[in-house]
Symmetry: C2
Subunit: 342 residues, 2 copies
């Protein structure tokens, strides 16, 4: 691993130690100074608004989710759009909150055939796509979608001046990580003797379970879930779920309305009684809301030089608080910045 | 990186695919089957009990913290014992809750010299010990404490049968990770050009900021904090704080009483008004409680074969839910099991 400074110009300009050197910009300051062109509008049909029942004190609880783009989206994101348009989640509930793990929502009676809420027609999601080691999303599948070759899309974080990697990005779960369309993603190892469950394809790729990731709950393998039961991560990244469960989005506003919910006391954090569940007032696609009510959000382009400098600063904190910059970062320590469109 | 199976005996005994193989034990099943001798009693003077004011519905809120052992403990843990014996925290408050980061407690008036609660006499904590790159905890310092040499203590997770590493333990923040006295710890790289803040010593070692870690809040570097203001991590591991802030313990029971607190709305998640703060009823060393009231806890020996098998199973999930075991784990995905003494 090589380490190069992206901020070389700043450092060369710093005066001798006896004088007061200008503080290096913090990651937040780098993002605040980004050009307008570095921000990418999130399509309105990729935004989901979940309104929970108001708090006891009457306060509103709105959560906004960005759905993952192709090629990671299929077929679950199509199902999620269908379910939102059918208003299927309205009146259902948060059913589970397990500390340092996930908050989950859907039909509390989903496993009771006599009481389960009928689903609209959904796309099949048999063991397939990137969650299967046998049919992982390969270079060919990626190229068929008209995307750049994986080895370009997944180039490691690079120096904007030298093209070299600027901090340690070692990852015990993958051969490399990078960012695709605003989402953290991993690239598979070329070989991995993983025991009785077999290995996975070289050059496969998958989205990552970081804090705030939204995934598709399911039963035992090979069930892949429909998209009707969803969860969000609100603890340390459970990367062992990568490639085992479909990641379909991430919470970009209001996650505190989920992460502060009382933890369930049954196994896996399920609530023991219906009264403990938080009702879902509604889940809507933003594109289905009246124009005047549509929030507009954008993310910092993960292909921009600004993002590369932000990632570098996350890994090499030079601001006044820090004694010893880390010189490295795991992918979930570099959250992709999001803001309301100014 | 080499990958070896610790569970080879189990796999060899499995019948052909046409038959129903016995499911591999889950990490929880491995821990549940541990011998009594694999459990280590936590000294009562290393346990801290924090009782928050009861919930609105009258429910108790007790948090139990395990203090970190030597050599990582000095001088902050001594100060924490002094503060608990002086009942210094009683009547103070939780002052900060920042989503996906930390909950912090101490004296809300601590930065106002006219109103700050007087501190008992505490040990000095100038820039020193392992949080300083210049005076990191070196091999020599470790050996002076009568401990085994660092390269033995920090041997990577090993196969119990072959001695070889059984899964990928790549770490972007350190050259290796391991477990010392029930705590996750990191071993420094031999060289690391970290920009203007300099490098750190080879063979230095430090405890890690995983979910639940308790650290010493402080002002700008080189302030190292006294131990009077503490925080716990309740989000993705903020490993960039390692070596910058002293880790002094970890929450081993009741973290949900901290992680579900409403998030503060001021900068950094501080509460805007005193009414939003949660009062601390008391913080006590368990060794100071009446014998009949003392909880007794133990952790799974991180030097035991059982722990090695547990860690292997965390990284290589073979139980029925999983399609594609990860083949790797980051240190914070291997929480050290703790239980009440049976």
């Amino acid at each position: 691993m090589k380490f190069k400074l992206l901020l070389a110009a700043t450092l060369l300009a710093a005066p001798a130690l006896a004088a007061q050197p200008a503080a290096a910009p913090s990651p937040g300051e780098i993002v605040a100074a980004a050009d307008a062109k570095d921000w990418v509008a999130i399509p309105q049909e990729d935004l989901l608004v979940m309104d929970l029942a108001p708090r006891a004190d009457g306060g509103a609880r709105r959560v906004i989710i960005q759905l993952v783009p192709e090629p990671f989206s299929r077929p679950w994101v199509a199902n999620i759009r269908t379910l939102a348009k059918a208003r299927w989640w309205d009146g259902l509930a948060i059913v589970r909150a397990q500390d340092n793990y996930v908050v989950q929502w859907g039909d509390p009676d989903g496993e009771d055939k006599g009481k389960a809420k009928p689903l609209p027609e959904l796309k099949p999601t048999a063991e397939a796509e990137y969650i299967s080691p046998a049919t992982a999303l390969t270079t060919q599948a990626w190229t068929n979608l008209g995307r750049a070759p994986l080895d370009e899309v997944f180039a490691p974080i690079r120096s904007t001046t030298t093209g070299e990697q600027s901090f340690n990005i070692a990852d015990p779960f993958a051969s490399a990580y990078a960012f695709v369309g605003g989402f953290p993603a991993a690239l598979g190892r070329t070989a991995s003797p993983l025991g009785s469950k077999g290995s996975f394809a070289a050059a496969s790729a998958w989205p990552i379970h970081c804090y705030g990731a939204v995934g598709v709950a399911r039963g035992l393998s090979p069930d892949a879930g429909t998209g009707a039961e969803l969860y969000t991560v609100m603890g340390h990244a459970p990367r062992h779920l990568d490639r085992n469960i479909a990641v379909v989005g991430r919470v970009i506003e209001g996650i505190e309305h989920l992460s502060t919910l009382p933890r369930g006391t049954e196994a896996l954090g399920f609530y023991a009684t219906p009264a403990e569940r938080t009702p879902i007032a509604s889940i809507r696609l933003v594109s289905e809301l009246p124009e005047a009510e549509q929030p507009k959000l954008e993310y910092l382009s993960t292909e921009s030089d600004t993002f590369a400098r932000y990632a570098h600063a996350r890994a090499n904190r030079e601001d006044d608080f820090f004694i010893a910059p880390a010189g490295g970062a795991d992918v979930c320590n570099i959250p992709v910045p999001v803001r309301r469109k100014p």
